[in-house]
């Protein structure tokens, strides 16, 4: 399922993760880490004081996500349980408990929204006493000095929320995995086998090479290509085994792969920024 994540400065990593996992029903490895990172960086940029605690917390979560993501992305070459897996399990439990807490308050927030929507249909009467009681009604300005008024004006004019700096436009996705997948499926369907070096000979940037590599990994994961590397650091040969029906880029396989585009986009974005 194709989706787009709108980075909103005020939405935190937990929100983002939850929204993606809960509502969009995407797998964890589809989560755009760069979105999360960008949101966080934007928050930090807007701070007068650097929040070390928050940053540490965030880095921990980001690290867990990267770890989990990379494991899901790579083929399961060795399945033995390693020691660090236990540490990972622990971290995962931690993350899970945070997500459960966050889910709870998300749901509570939605309920508050419902209550407010309901209540906002009724407008309160605020007319106050009519002129018959004017003489009696306490003068609301009694005791308000000119200085109070000046201070109130300064408060009101100063206490403006800071305008948000739009950051979305900074990210330029030169090429996404979705686009690459589309062309890879066509090229491979036609040529059947090609070295990765040849495949990326026309790449204009390292980004594009990376994105192609991710595309190939995805195709491998889907069982559409076979990979062969005779010697370490040698040429990687990509062989199409997906059948001829897949030469059409709009095939079901192509559709399924669109989600991965986010990852490519995110890596491209990060590379671009670095």
């Amino acid at each position: 399922m194709a989706y787009e994540v709108k980075t909103q400065v005020y939405e935190g990593p937990f929100d983002m993760l939850l929204r993606l996992i809960n509502e969009q029903r995407v797998e964890l490895y589809d989560v755009r880490l760069s979105e999360i990172v960008d949101a966080f960086l934007a928050e930090i940029a807007g701070l007068e004081r650097f929040d070390l605690e928050g940053a540490t917390e965030f880095l921990l979560i980001a690290a867990i996500l990267v770890e989990l993501k990379s494991r899901r992305l790579l083929p399961d070459l060795e399945s033995e349980v390693r020691e660090e897996d236990f540490a990972l399990l622990e971290e995962r439990d931690y993350l899970l408990s945070r997500l459960v807490e966050c889910t709870t308050f998300s749901a509570a927030g939605r309920r508050l929204f419902e209550l407010e929507s309901q209540a906002s249909k009724s407008y309160p009467r605020i007319a106050g006493p009519d002129e018959r009681f004017e003489g009696l009604a306490p003068d609301l300005l009694a005791g308000v000095s000119l200085d109070d008024l000046r201070q109130a004006a300064e408060r009101a004019l100063a206490e403006r929320p800071k305008p948000r700096v739009e950051i979305e436009h900074v990210l330029v996705d030169e090429v996404t995995v979705a686009e690459v997948l589309h062309s890879l499926v066509q090229v491979l369907g036609r040529l059947r086998a090609i070295t990765f070096r040849d495949l990326t000979a026309d790449a204009r940037s390292r980004n594009e090479v990376v994105v192609h590599f991710l595309g190939i990994l995805e195709l491998y994961k889907q069982g559409l290509v076979e990979l062969d590397q005779a010697v370490t650091f040698g040429d990687l040969v990509v062989t199409w085994v997906g059948g001829s029906g897949h030469a059409d880029g709009d095939s079901a396989a192509g559709q399924d792969l669109v989600g991965t585009a986010s990852l490519g986009g995110s890596l491209a974005g990060m590379e671009y920024r670095g």
């Binding site: 106050g128 009604a137 306490p138 008024l149 000046r150 109130a152 305008p163 948000r164």
Partner: protein
Amino acid sequence: MSDCGQSSEPGPGTEAQSGEHATRARVAEAAVEAVLTVASEPVSARLLAELLEMSVERVETLCRELAASYEEEGRGFSLARVAGGYRLQSHGAYAGYVERFVLDGAPSKLSAAALETLAVVAYKQPVSRAQLSAIRGVNADGVLRLLVARGYVAEVGRDRGPGQAVLFGTTQGFLEKLGLDTLSDLPPLSGFVPSADTVEMLERALRPETGT
């Protein structure tokens, strides 16, 4: 009970339905009641007619009947026709209670929010609702209505731009209460005063804040 019943039928243009809020006349009556409940100023028959999508004559008949029924039922409020419009007001028979309430119970001070809004109107007049909301970062309508009802603030004109937004300014009464001759006697503001451009920019910045 935190709120007393919230069925969700007849909006404007909705066909009258059977049941409690049934007949067309009853819907119109209730709509008048709803509007007058939230109004701080008398509402003209013409405006009511527009809101209810019926003739001015029908509105007048309806209001007369409603007023008579309140009187007959011995309600504590009455529907009065004053200064070119209709309004709900406390019934004269219960003025004693109202006086005691006004003396003892009514808020005797402007809230901080109301004072800030009043101050912004005073210094930046003429200002529109939207500008006020943008400056304060909140919808200013409720507070504005209170200030108008209390006679501190009044409509002073219309924006010439598209939309012709109503512009607000302070009243003579406001000046008198604060012992000022003219607005130029207001103490000067120190520090940053946003220009119209800045206000507009703020308005824009606030807009994407809507729910996901």
